[in-house]
């Protein structure tokens, strides 16, 4: 039997909907809401990290090569990174289907 990620009926709920497993919110992939995804043009990127600083989800991280990328499991496609990017290196591209 596989363990359920969260309760499905009232009988399964902890009193007060309390959750005793730390970090369980990370299992909720808010990236499924996204209509547009950020795409970096590293030729324009100056590696300043403004996208990383402004991301309200905290899902943009620096890669080993010093450029940046978004974790699409959590990126909601808000576009703040693209709006803030000094060198206009980020474009918001429509998600297909």
């Amino acid at each position: 039997m596989t363990e359920k990620k969260w309760p499905e009926t009232w009988q399964e709920m902890n009193p007060g909907c309390m959750v005793f497993r730390p970090g369980s919110a990370s299992e909720y992939h808010t990236g499924s809401w996204r209509a547009k995804r950020p795409v970096w043009d590293n030729a324009k990127c100056i590696k300043c990290g403004v996208c990383y600083i402004y991301c309200p989800e905290g899902c943009i991280a620096e890669k080993a090569d010093g450029y940046f990328d978004a974790n699409l499991d959590y990126c909601k496609g808000c576009g703040i990174c693209a709006h803030e990017c000094w060198s206009a290196a980020i474009k918001m591209v429509n998600e297909e289907g």
Binding site: W6, P7, E8, T9, W10, Q11, M13, P15, G16, C17, M18, V19, F20, P22, S24, A25
Partner: protein
Amino acid sequence: MGKRVGMEVAIASAEAAALCRFDVAAVYPITPQSHVAEHLSDIVNDGRVDASFMTVESEHSAMSAAIGASATGSRVVTATSSQGLLYMSEVLPIASAMRLPIVMIIANRAVSGPINIWNDHSDIMLQRDTGWISFFAENGQEVVDMTIQAFKVGEDRRVMLPVNVNMDGFQLTHVVEPIIMPDQEEVDRFLPAYLPYATLHPDRPVSMGTLGMPDIYTESQKSKDEAIVHSIGVIREVWKEWEAQFGRKYEPIGSYRTEDADVALVTMGSMGETAEIAVDELRKQGVKAGLLKIKLWRPFPFDDLKKAVQGIRVLAVTDRAVSFGGPGGPVF
């Protein structure tokens, strides 16, 4: 043994909370509750209870602070009235949804407008469906007893819900009544130290007040309703225990001269004692009158009421709040 004292009921309610050794009081003063707020503050200031008194800037903050304090595992008391209770409204269902056994003493007062500081039940009726257990006291003694009982009921692991104790503004709050004040040793015997189900502590991480998406939200409401519906069993148990220890009987529906009654009044709160006199007068005139007093408002004691009304032909239900455009008052 408890001592019979003459005490203003608002002061007595704060004294009752002190006997329960509360840890935190977060209160904002409002007429006619102010004496409760002031006296809780005095009790903490005088070092009579090892507690914090939080001087919050509003009732919304009072309830928010009470929720936060209760989530850390503190025994929490607050008090309010009328507009103050309405200002708390947004946070009241959160306290019950988080299953935090906060006790709130309410000095029932009319809601504006017109502006009116005197007593009716429109404040609590507007908060009726927030998932709090509601007691209605008839006199000062019941205010004291119910305040102590409220902690025991709310903190029971089978309940884990906030409880409000309703006392009529002025009719009770500002009246000096003879009250048997239990002593500390008696209350300690009745009310054990609060052992919370969970507390906000880094050693044992817990998320409280979580997000509930539509697929679980309705289930969460059912879970809360089950908790309050089934709390009546614990309330009965606690009241039996109280009766055994203190000799004063509590029932969800109190009855007065109803054995052979044809007609009966239904009251809630301080009106009960006045109504007893009216029943006595009617009996002298040959009317077979009786009286039913609702002491437990939520969860509503349907079975007790059905039993209590047996044989009575006419019920005269008194309501002290209007459900505008509705089918009658909330009690009716």
